[in-house]
Symmetry: C2
Subunit: 451 residues, 2 copies
């Protein structure tokens, strides 16, 4: 079915790169970004581990799995490797609080790390090899995403799932040590399993495709190891992933600059569990509250001056669910000024329905400024005593220009461990992740995150 | 994410139909066609059960499953329900010898029957209810296929897999007895898992997506039962299955005439394990050989008069693999005239490389006749003694106009049981399928097909 199509043998070149990559070929900063991605991954998974979807899926899927050999993050019960990969990816992504590759808006770590960590509990894998495989999996995933962006997402594909399965397959293939030819097969087996629709966002079904991306990536690699071959050009073939899911792909972006530029190093992390456009608003709220010991009772009204996109996306005066609260500027302002926090608890169903926030939400107004970049916002707080406080943010926390620090990520981990209620030792886990390349057995790290 | 789009609430109407359907609403002929589909399903699965893909996938997937509670057709080892669903669907489809819904070219039974039969081994289900659920699953699958055809396949989707997951989800939802609302959820959970690419045809990776269609359909229904909800319009929503996979869907075809016209009754069955365009050629070969006790040594040359499409698709004088042999007219003619048979053994790798067929293959010529319908072919055999034999076929066996008889299907079952080597009792199995509506426990039927 596959034919030459102008671009080079993209799948084969990618597979050759993966097979040939040595740990020392990966620059230090890229490896450090991968460690940061892992800290953020565990934070999100430990925060999401008792979400209703994860509870239901654990109940259903563990009925069919073998006796647990792999950790389900944040939970007492362990599971078989495939089910653990599914559940851990779903937990890490369930609140959309995980990482973002800005060019594609893939959440890259959840499918890849979940696949690798579960695999590491069934087959010996050093921390160095795990981190190396993680980098390569994320690299493949984001590059395949680049080749189909932006049309792929715009048409309705949930890109984290559709590309995540390739990342997971590549990572596990590298962890196994598959040769080039079998990595092509693994990519073919992954292509047969790519799926996930934007229509499911906002429903639990979203997590089904994210969990599958991790699980099916493991299956794709293990089948390739067992001799299951795919087509020669699962990516660039006439009826391969890029053209069918593209639909106007730039196949060359999969391999362009491979080994020289690193997409995996471009990862970003969210400081707040809500729409990314709200980041500058929340930064400003928390800064003003902290600087002026603001008490919500003193506030008469609030103006947000920002690009019109902010109003378009987040004008929801009284959200009734956590999901709606995550895209409500009025809620974000009211809760951050009132509580001085903007974590998962502040964007929960319960908090969305907190009557104490109603008055302040109603006092929030948008001032549109089409000249502003979308990352910028100014918060103007008018106090009952006539005073006015103002704070402008041009580079919000968590953006590429102002990334979360390592300490921020550790703090996110602590907060989310507490939110998730697993009683895992966040400090010990963080230490293990920062030093994962010293670990003889990578599985030891994920076991620290058991519930 | 989903919005009104002109067409009615397709998913909801479909779910309401499924939830409300009573067994007695399904006409006798439709139920009989479902029994015929099951005979053909078991035949193909018993023929494919020891294929290399099935061997490898069994090896990989049973490592992670719980102790076997569900039959893997034709094999000694049992498996967990999800793995059994995967393996049985893969076996039934691996040789593309299974059924065809002509409008969509979906192979409809493999994903749906495999899902239901595995489910029936974990949860009590009568034969009547299984057959009813099978009809409804196939009906949903083929109707969703109608709504996206022909563009969906043309763009590169493997429609058996992409639509099969919906069929499996619907069938298991009905078997569980889910109410309308949860069938909508099951369809949403299925939409998150739809996938499968034409690029993988001709490779083992094809079977990954077919197996997943069955497995993931079971998961979709069980998750819905456990409270995992999807979007309200997973089919017709803006970013739902029909538009994203369409890409020019006719959503109304999902529900048009539901309960009055039955797509499930339009199923057809292949008499030969090769490209469907070769059916009239093989019919003619077998008829001539049998009528004239033809010995291959007496044949000088052979002409096939047919629509030019036949030559386009099947002009391969010396195929080197079973897969190539399946689309080689020269091979088909040579092997059928020489052996008087055209079963899986005649389209195997070994047979493709049988040197004894070379001379006769080289004596086969195409005569193009653009006036002919594609279903028609005339075979002209020129003997060494100067005589000429001719046979014309206008309605090949297995076509809608000349369907395989019940006896033909039983004979296919016998042949494929023998080919697969499972030593299952074909006569007993056939009897159980024809009388499945009398069975209190449908699982008893699939257990007759254990290896």
């Amino acid at each position: 079915m596959s034919h030459e199509q102008g671009s080079g043998p993209v799948t084969e070149d990618l597979a050759a790169f993966i097979a040939g990559s040595r740990r020392e070929d990966v620059p230090d900063d890229v490896r450090h970004e991968a460690r940061r991605s892992l800290v953020n991954f565990f934070a999100c998974a430990l925060g999401g581990c008792r979400d209703a979807f994860v509870n239901s899926a654990t109940h259903v899927l563990t009925c069919f799995g073998s006796a647990g050999t792999a950790t389900v993050i944040g939970r007492r019960q362990s599971a078989d490797v495939l089910t653990a990969a599914f559940l851990n990816a779903a937990s890490a992504n369930v609140f959309d609080f995980d990482d973002t590759h800005p060019r594609t808006i893939i959440h890259p770590t959840a499918p890849v790390a979940a696949a690798l960590l579960a695999f590491a509990e069934s087959s010996p894998l050093s921390g160095r090899d795990l981190l190396h495989a993680l980098v390569l999996g994320m690299e493949a995933e984001c590059r395949i995403g680049n080749a189909v962006s932006p049309e792929h997402y715009r048409r309705g594909w949930h890109i984290t799932s559709t590309c995540g399965v390739f990342g997971a397959a590549v990572a596990v293939s590298k962890a196994i040590g598959l040769p080039r030819e079998r990595i092509v097969w693994a990519l073919g087996n992954a292509s047969a399993q790519a799926g996930g629709l934007l229509e499911t966002l906002g429903s639990m079904a979203k997590s089904v495709s994210v969990g599958n991306a991790a699980r099916n990536g493991v299956v794709a690699a293990l089948l390739a190891q067992a001799g299951v071959f795919g087509p020669q050009r699962p990516l660039e073939g006439t009826y391969g992933f890029l053209r069918v899911f593209g639909p106007e792909p730039d196949a060359g972006r999969v391999t362009e600059g491979l080994g020289h530029t690193w997409e995996a190093a471009l990862n970003t992390y969210k400081p707040y569990p809500c729409g990314i456009v709200l980041s500058p608003v929340l930064d400003a709220c928390l800064a003003l509250r902290s600087a002026h010991q603001l008490d919500a009772d003193r506030i008469a009204r609030v103006e947000i001056t920002a690009h019109p996109l902010l109003r378009e996306r987040t004008d929801r005066v009284h959200p009734v669910s956590g999901r709606e609260a995550q895209v409500s500027a009025q809620h974000a302002v009211a809760v951050a000024l009132t509580r001085g926090k903007a974590g998962l608890a502040e964007f929960s169903d319960a908090c969305a329905n907190d009557a104490g926030l109603r008055a302040l939400r109603e006092g929030v107004a948008f001032v549109e400024d089409p000249q502003r970049p979308v990352e910028s916002a100014t918060l103007t707080v008018r106090l009952r005593d006539g005073a006015t406080l103002e704070h402008r943010v041009d580079e919000p926390r968590g953006s590429t220009a102002r990334p979360l620090t390592d300490a921020d990520l550790e703090s996110k981990l602590r907060d989310l461990v507490e939110y998730g209620g697993s009683q895992c030792d966040a400090a010990r886990l963080a230490h293990a992740i920062w030093h994962i390349e010293d670990a003889d057995d990578a599985a030891g790290v994920v076991r620290l995150a058991a519930g």
